[in-house]
């Protein structure tokens, strides 16, 4: 992409170099971004993906055919893939299935544990073999619905009401996002288990105990996914909601629209892209879910990623890569479809002036209004689902077989003071996590912004680049890790006995930045697209360089998105585990999640204490990040 810059008339002659830099900074940043992506993403992933197309060194499609026609992976679709032209047979099978549907009215007890017969319309569908891909997509779809349903009310409350601790609460919504999978599992067992916190509370009022996890493993897995992803939906939506220009709502109201109508016609269209972005990211994440399904649900709920892990363990790269490529195609296809929709939502320039926030409980009468009661009800749900597992984890770090104990923290202190050089100490883990987080911010934010700037007005090719820019989220983490190991840690042999290797801090930060920049792009692009091009054009007409116009006109107007994206980037870095553990293996570059994993022995206490520390450090940094970032929000 060439950026035809007009020479800047620089009367103050502030140095030829800086003028040159200013003119070319965008190209340089684009070049840097491309370099990082090629080395840290395309090379490692390409190395593994190529395995899918090779059999003993010669090109083949055999691996794909095997996977696509295996009913274990694709259920009923496998027959279609095996013989796509036998349309008659497939239609016959479909008709047979449709003929097997029966509908009957029965009595059922929908509430587990309560013997309350309710007339129930039972729809009997003949079983369909979904296959591994089918089931993975099914649970991802359910998880997405649950995450959006639980995330939107939170966004509504945070964006429209003022109450004590709102900003802190908003900062803390990131916490589930950084928790290692094993900690989420332990937290969920501690909260929803048969002797968990929830049953203890219910027992106090004479109910239960209920076997929540036993009754429906799938439901618990979906809740765990919502625990991770509802905050993501909420954060994206709040950022969009606070970018709404309140004056447009006032205009609609003054023209006679009811509040509901104004919301539907003015506010909602500005929120939909953010909600859909959240839904898309949730679907992709939960499609790639790995430890959580098996930690809470069991092997019956295995996903494609579980099989990729297993194939990699057995060094069957051809099959692993084929599975991973199919996953990626699906995720990127969805992304492309979404981006086509997003770019069709052309906006108009806006200067965000967030809608005024009402006090949540101004007086006793308002507190009893239906809307406030609904808010309270949601608050209780959020307490159980989001605060419950986190709080149970914290409690678990100070209890033991015999009740209250500080033993786990004593272990951390002792390890810090006396740990040998080969042992993992808590303080370096905290320090590394924070340093990597800040460094990731410094790399990922410019990367994300550059990609947004370059793609947002580039039409169809821009959409394609934008879709490809989502690759880090759409690639199996296991495959990415293996690629990093084989490509960068082992190194690529070059002629003359040289090896090209990338390890250590640089590699970890680059890997984190690669995982994080899509969040910046997805937060910034929609806002950038709604800016009025005329503003940039006038700045350029008045002699500003493209860069100057970007820095002084565009970026301040999308500061909200940048700050929101930066927060995600920081969180991604803090919580990243799979590539960090590979790049930090055997060295002193371990982070907090890696330390949690290493402290897991025959007793989980020390690991849970470290997990609690991770939560505290993250909470503190986010309160700071949001406060600092908030100064840039207009």
């Amino acid at each position: 992409m060439s950026l035809a810059d007009r020479p800047v008339v620089d009367r103050l002659s502030a140095g030829v170099v800086s003028a040159w830099l200013e003119r070319h900074v965008l190209s340089l940043a684009a070049f840097g971004t491309a370099a990082v992506l090629v080395v840290m993403l395309y090379l490692p992933v390409g190395l593994v993906f190529v395995e899918a197309l090779l059999e003993d060194g010669s090109p083949t499609l055999g691996h794909f055919v095997e996977v696509l026609t295996d009913p274990f992976y694709f259920g009923v679709l496998a027959d279609v893939f095996a013989d796509p032209l036998a349309i008659g047979d497939h239609l016959g099978a479909l008709a047979g299935w449709l003929g097997g549907i029966s509908i009957a009215v029965t009595l059922a007890s929908p509430v587990p544990g309560l013997d309350l017969p309710v007339p129930w319309l039972a729809v009997e569908l003949p079983p369909v073999q979904k296959g591994l891909f089918g089931f993975t997509a099914y649970q991802a779809a359910l998880s997405t619905v649950a995450s959006v349903a639980l995330g939107l009310p939170a966004a509504y409350i945070l964006a429209n009401y003022e109450f004590y601790g709102r900003r802190t609460l908003r900062s803390l919504t990131i916490l589930p996002f950084v928790l290692p999978g094993i900690m989420v599992a332990v937290g969920f067992y501690a909260m929803f288990g048969r002797t968990g916190t929830l049953n203890t509370l219910l027992g106090a009022v004479g109910l239960g105990p209920f076997a929540f996890i036993e009754t429906s493993p799938l439901a618990i897995v979906i809740l765990a996914h919502a625990f991770y992803n509802a905050p993501l939906v909420a954060r994206l939506t709040v950022a969009a909601w606070e970018s709404v220009d309140a004056r447009t709502v006032e205009t609609a109201r003054s023209l006679g629209a009811s509040p509901r109508r104004a919301f539907r016609d003015v506010v909602a269209p500005q929120l939909v892209p953010a909600v859909l972005t959240g839904a898309l990211l949730t679907f992709i994440f939960t499609f790639m879910t790995f430890p959580i399904v098996l930690a809470l649900g069991g092997l019956q709920l295995a996903t494609v990623e579980v099989w990729i892990y297993d194939r990699v363990q057995r060094l069957a790269y051809g099959e692993a890569a084929s599975l991973a490529i199919l996953e990626t195609i699906l995720s990127l296809g969805l992304t492309y479809a979404y981006l086509r929709y997003e770019s069709a939502q052309t906006g108009f320039s806006q200067a965000p002036s967030p809608p005024p926030k009402e006090a949540l409980f101004p007086d006793a009468r308002t507190a009893l209004s239906p809307r406030r009661l609904a808010v309270l009800g949601y608050g209780c749900v959020a307490l159980v689902l989001f605060v419950g597992p986190l709080a149970s984890l914290v409690v678990g770090s100070v209890t033991d077989g015999s009740g209250f104990t500080l033993r786990n923290y004593a272990f951390l202190v002792e390890r810090q003071l006396e740990g040998a050089s080969f042992q993992t100490r808590p303080f370096p883990a905290i320090r590394n996590s924070l340093l990597f987080g800040l460094a990731t911010l410094a790399v990922a934010v410019p990367m994300g912004v550059v990609i947004s700037v370059l793609t947002v007005r580039a039409g169809r090719s821009g959409r394609l680049v934008d879709t490809l820019a989502m690759l880090p989220l759409a690639v199996s983490g296991i495959v990415f890790g293996i690629g990093l190991l084989q490509g960068l840690v082992f190194g690529i042999p070059l002629p003359g006995g040289w090896r090209f290797q990338v390890t250590g801090t640089v590699a970890i930060v680059a890997a984190h930045a690669v995982a994080a920049y899509p969040f910046v792009t997805r937060n910034v692009s929609p806002l950038l697209a709604t800016l009025d091009p005329a503003m940039v054009e006038s700045a350029r007409a008045l002699g500003a360089s493209r860069t100057r116009a970007l820095l002084d006109v565009e970026l301040p107007l999308v500061a909200n998105g940048i700050v929101a994206g930066a927060a995600f980037a920081f969180a991604i870095s803090i919580g990243e585990f799979s590539s960090t553990v590979i790049l930090a293996s055997g060295s002193e570059h371990y982070t907090m999640p890696v330390a949690v994993e290493r402290y897991l022995g025959r007793r989980s206490g020390p690991a849970i204490a470290m997990g609690t520390l991770l939560l505290l450090v993250t909470a503190a940094s986010f309160v700071v990040v949001d406060r600092v970032g908030g100064r840039y929000e207009l």
Partner: protein, 370 residues
């Protein structure tokens, strides 16, 4: 830093960062930033790679071993954490000539050896041990050997997979068959054999009991009886079992040592040996082919098999010693709370070679895939 200056530096910064990553073969080609040489010059440093709980949990055996070994031999012992991929990491390194700077691998299982030979070539990766150079090799119980036809390993400790149950909720199951009875409906927690050692051991135990042709049928009945197969040992034990989710879990027969150490309730930590058996999981040590100081590695092996080291490993790593009773003196706690089955079941190298992956795959497909 101003955003603008910063943007300009990103590009050049990343170029600089990458420029420092070209290395010549043989000049410390591992773990960038680790300071280079990993003792592969025979300079009195032994680099031993081992799994995390050997060196990084509360009372790990690693620190003790390092100190005692260094005192005795005037050498240096460097622990290295086993990378995430376990044995696969070293198989791939060998496959790609990426160099291995560890000298000794502590913590090999039989299936690791099988995988090495399947992927590389028979007898690859580790040296054949010259038992004449070892004073104490004969102390290891014969039945604990991994059965490697290439003689690469020496067993240093032993664990048994058993069931751990809550006697307030269920009676002790007398046999594997009992687990399919209504009395044990929805009580058992197992682990995924694709991923967890304990899960794979339990699966192999059932294959030993019901045969290659009968084990899937047995698991079908277990599934009908509501077995839950969770991810790893931590999820199933520290997560589900400890939170009272279910009253029975596949675990280790040394469970009560921890019960005693951490003041848990003994009634919730009873050990059961169905069919009077436990699945044996011996752990071995081996010397990498390219090890630098081979003499020192042999010294280390002898040291690990000494009475004192065997007792310390047993107590700290909570596994049984590999040597016969007369060569080790265990403290009372261990003797009282670590239980041995009357009969040990295990597959050795020959039993697993060529079978293991197929068995696990068939089993996993039974469970997953809706």
């Amino acid at each position: 830093m101003r955003r603008r200056t910063f943007l300009g530096t990103v590009g050049s910064g990343s170029a600089l960062g990458l420029a420092g990553c070209l290395t010549r073969d043989g000049e410390g080609d591992e773990n960038g930033g680790n300071g280079g040489d990993g003792g592969s010059e025979g300079d009195g440093t032994l680099t031993v790679v081992t799994y995390e709980s050997m060196i990084d949990t509360e009372d790990s055996a690693g620190p003790w071993l390092k100190e005692a070994f260094e005192d005795e031999f005037d050498a240096e012992l460097e622990w290295e954490q086993l990378p995430d991929g376990g044995i696969n990491h070293y198989i791939q390194r060998a496959d790609r000539d990426a160099g291995i700077d560890a000298d000794v691998y502590l913590g090999l299982n039989v299936d690791d050896l099988v995988r090495v030979d399947d992927q590389l070539e028979d007898g690859a990766l580790f040296r054949e041990l010259d038992r004449d150079r070892l004073e104490r090799a004969d102390r290891v119980r014969d039945e604990f050997a991994l059965g490697d036809p290439h003689g690469r390993t020496l067993t240093y400790d032993m664990g048994y997979i058993s069931l751990v149950y809550d006697e307030n909720e269920v009676a002790e199951p007398a046999s594997l068959e009992d687990l399919t009875e209504p009395e044990y409906e929805n009580t058992l927690l197992a682990q995924n054999a694709q991923k967890a050692d304990s899960g794979q051991a339990f699966l192999l135990w059932t294959i030993d009991a019901f045969g290659e042709d009968g084990y899937l049928d047995y698991w079908q009945r277990l599934e009908d009886n509501g077995v839950r197969v969770l991810d790893g040992w931590t999820e199933s034990y520290s997560g589900a079992y400890m939170e009272g989710e279910r009253p029975m879990v596949v675990s280790y027969s040394t469970d009560q040592v921890y019960t005693n150490r951490f003041d848990y309730d003994f009634s919730r930590h009873q050990v059961a040996f169905p069919n009077e058996q436990g699945y044996a999981n011996p752990e071995g040590m081996a010397i990498f082919e390219d090890a630098g100081d081979v003499d020192l590695a042999y010294d280390f092996f002898d040291f690990v098999l000494s009475s004192e080291a065997q007792a310390e490993i047993a107590t700290r790593n909570v596994q049984f010693p590999a040597v016969a009773d007369e060569h080790v003196d265990l403290d009372e706690e261990f003797d009282e709370y670590a239980h041995r089955p009357s009969e040990m079941v295990s597959f050795d190298y020959d039993g697993l070679r060529g079978n293991l992956d197929g068995w696990v795959e068939d089993w996993a497909r039974e469970f997953a895939g809706q």
